[in-house]
Amino acid sequence: MLEVRNLTKKIDGKTIVKDISFSLGEGEILGFVGPNGAGKTTTLRMLACCTLPASGTATLDSFDLVKDDMQIRRKIGYLPEVPPLYEHMKVATYLRTIARFKGIPANRQKGAVDEVIERCFINKMSVREIGKLSKGYRQRVGLAQAILGNPRLLLLDEPTSGLDPGQISEMREIIRRAAKKSMVIFSTHILQEIQNLCHRIVLIKNGELTYQGKLDQYGLANDGITHLVLRLKGDRNLIETALNPDGSDISFHLEGPGNGTNEIKASVQFPENEATQTTILRELLNRNVTILEVSPKAKDLEHTILEFMRSE
């Protein structure tokens, strides 16, 4: 279990990360989402013990990030945005070196290296010099060093940036499998990745955490607007009148014939207010409109997150 409480980082007097708190449980993949310069990398670097926080705490399995940093380092795997590789080494030699650095016992090093070579699909490249590998393979070798030894916490900083679609798909698969053995935090600004991989997201902007929770609830929780989808049966004109009471801020869109016998689908948006919702439903019932279904609808995720990234 990872618990992060009020983590803050200042560089040259400027606050880069401010009071970030979140937690992460077994088998979870947490997506760090935010525009460039939001503080994602700095937060990951703090959790990877590469830089010390100005204040706040983080505990991993009850070990403190600052006081017990050596124990923490034994439990993490970290892949920075640019894979940290010794270019002159062969892939297997490099991974063997990392295994030694990680303190994996000598009799288990070979097995651990062979396992990650298998998991990251780099068997054919294991005797190649790292400096001669393509970007995709370099990224995989970087990921292999991070997952070596099955760390409790895997920190991945934009692991798929600059890869082609095929390589991205393979990387996702590797990360998904890694999550069976490790908790995973990864930063990204690729929306497909958030949707495909993350159980939860943390949105960071200007160093501050602005949202954390399940991905599909972000649209609902975010903007103070209620989005409802209604399946109705009744006269179209009556439905339009019911959805448009005087002085209301309701906007709606109807689909279907609405001739009284066939279904009509209404997408309705209005400022978050329970009274408005009740009013709409009462108005519909008063006009003898049958309400078949009322369901909340999240705003389109991609649209919502893009809005978040672009907003000041």
Partner: protein
């Protein structure tokens, strides 16, 4: 620490550095030694030690320039920070790898003793004292190089910076000779590495020289530790 040492030693012998530095050191010091023995008819190692010290002023920066600067520029220093290895052990592993390369260079020069034995009956006291001196001075140079390498990502800057500091320490004893600078009341003679080298070559093993050279190594090792610690503090 041993793992860092292994990796550094591997890097020295994978890269051209070891294959350039060791032969260059042995060829040039061998040339001057032969010149001194066969042309000047001096059956002694003292000139050879002096020339070796000057050569190390130029070769040690090449040995140390990449130690930290390369890790910084490639991002692997971040990797080391995230591993269960302390900053002290990172530096010690790198320092000892460079000291090992220095030892290989000095061990190679032991071959110079053979012609001395053939042509004369050398006094081994000054020879062993000279080797002790040059080893201690070499470790000081390495420590200074390690520190300068921790200041930059650029290996050329690290090499030039190290050379500048090493030359300063070598020639600083002459500052006292300038009347305009005599108001600076510092023991320049003692600070200068060339003074201590001279003593060792004459066969004098002063405890004060040993303590000074070891302290100088420790001081710059400490500076490098502080530099990396500050970097981690961010």
């Amino acid at each position: 620490m041993l793992n860092i040492y292994r990796k550094e030693l591997f890097t020295y012998f994978w890269s051209p550095i070891a294959y350039i530095v060791v032969p260059v050191f042995l060829l040039i010091s061998g040339y001057f030694f032969s010149f001194s023995l066969y042309y000047l008819k001096l059956a002694t190692m003292s000139n050879a030690f002096h020339n070796m010290s000057i050569l190390l002023l130029l070769l040690v920066p090449v040995m140390t320039m990449r130690l930290i600067a390369e890790e910084k520029s490639t991002g692997t220093l971040e990797l080391l920070f995230s591993m269960p290895v302390s900053i002290g052990n990172i530096l010690l592993g790198k320092f000892l790898a460079a000291v090992t390369l220095l030892s290989i260079m000095l061990a190679g020069s032991l071959i110079f003793i053979i012609p001395l034995l053939i042509h004369a009956e050398p006094d081994f006291g000054p020879i062993w004292a000279g080797y002790l001196g040059i080893f201690l001075i070499g470790t000081c140079y390495i420590s200074i190089g390690l520190f300068v390498s921790s200041l930059t990502e650029n290996q050329i800057v690290a090499a030039l910076g190290t050379t500048a500091i090493l030359i300063l320490f070598w020639f600083i004893r002459y500052i006292g000779n300038f009347e305009a600078l005599q108001f600076i009341n510092l023991p320049f003679d003692f600070i200068s590495t060339s003074t201590h080298q001279g003593d060792f070559v004459r066969g004098l093993i002063n405890l004060s020289s040993i303590v000074y050279l070891l302290s100088l190594s420790a001081l710059f090792y400490g500076f490098a530790w502080i530099r990396l610690h500050l970097q981690r503090m961010g």
